[in-house]
Assembly symmetry: C2
Homo-oligomer: 217 residues x 2
């Protein structure tokens, strides 16, 4: 797949020049993020819940345990919107109106279903863990059957997908460029700090190198 | 107000020990964040859109321009869920099952309405700007009437509110503490990088000190 076809629901209507349907760019955004906000509707009330996710080819696996309200209604799958947003910088313009944020976001609409197959669930959990800390899954104790049962994983096919991206400097009105205030972009990054070892760390354990968190170091 | 009363819809049902209804803690989370995800439902499809917000007393002001689909349906207000999530760290346990994330999130349910009053709208825009860069509003060129008309601001009363917080080390099963792998918390922070001045910066402009972004420096 090279591009996603915008549907009436995923076509970007506001600031359409920021729209991205290119699959490689969408994948890159999803692979850089780790936190999504999943929206669903119960009794006409929308709910938006933060949770972890990982992409596998053209599927999103979503850590479902956070969404207990949703899961009660999930027998036949549930209509969801999964949104991932990366903030790249604050855009300071000469006019208050043109202040903005550089960001990359992806929206996936569709029907999420519980992953029932044991091997697919284990594979998704392995991907969640290694998506944050590469190779962590093989270091840690593997899940028992009761732990697997206590964990819910949702799968959402990436069929209705769009992305929106703002990059670059402020775009001011021509007559404002002479205003003598600082204007430009202040980049924003998520960074890992000094690891805090557990009080009960095994004396045989090695330290933790934050360089393993490649996106955050 | 000291605490929010949980409604049937905001009572935290999964891991209720993580629930927070204390207004001071909720305010602190909202005042540290700047990006929300707003959920609304159109034709039974939920949508989740990232946008800016700022708290003013017991109201949330939400930058509405991002949500053009929503605004078309907004005549009488619209049922929304506004969620703000701060990620504080990755929690590495001995077992894959007990891996977690330290986070603070707030969920506000209710009916959002367009801000129609001119002074209230200007006040909200001033708050948006100064919430990211203190004192920036007074430095920048103020909005014209057409710019004000082109900007949508929503207001949502903070009546149905809950927060969820995870802090601290991994909680492993007793028999796993001897496993000789590193366990603990890797803190995660949003940090400002070196400002990138606009190519057309006025020669009379001062530099930009990222210490002004107190939460990100």
């Amino acid at each position: 797949m090279v591009t996603y076809q915008p549907s009436a629901r995923t076509r970007v209507t506001r600031l359409p020049k920021r729209a991205v349907y290119d699959a490689a760019q969408v994948h890159a955004i999803l692979d850089e993020g780790f936190l999504c906000h999943i929206g669903f509707t119960v009794d006409e009330q929308p709910y938006v819940i933060p949770t972890g996710y990982v992409r596998a080819s053209e599927k999103l696996y979503i850590h479902g345990s956070a969404a207990s309200r949703m899961l009660r209604t999930l027998d036949q799958g549930i209509q969801v919107c999964v949104t991932v947003t990366l903030v790249d910088g604050f855009v300071l313009a000469r006019s208050s109106f043109h202040h903005s944020v550089n960001y990359r976001s992806v929206v996936v609409l569709g029907t999420a279903r519980l992953v029932l197959d044991r091997e697919e669930k284990i594979d998704a959990l392995r991907r969640f863990t290694n998506h944050i800390v590469p190779d962590r899954w093989d270091e840690a104790r593997q899940p028992t059957d009761p732990e697997l049962k206590a964990t819910s994983v949702l799968v959402l096919p990436m069929e209705e997908v769009s992305a929106k991206v703002r990059t670059g400097p402020p775009i001011d009105d021509e007559e404002d460029y002479d205003i003598p205030i600082w204007a430009g972009v202040v980049p924003i990054h998520m960074r890992a700090g000094e690891p805090i070892p557990d009080d009960r760390l095994s004396p045989a354990a090695d330290g933790f190198d934050i360089k393993r968190l490649t996106r955050f170091s």
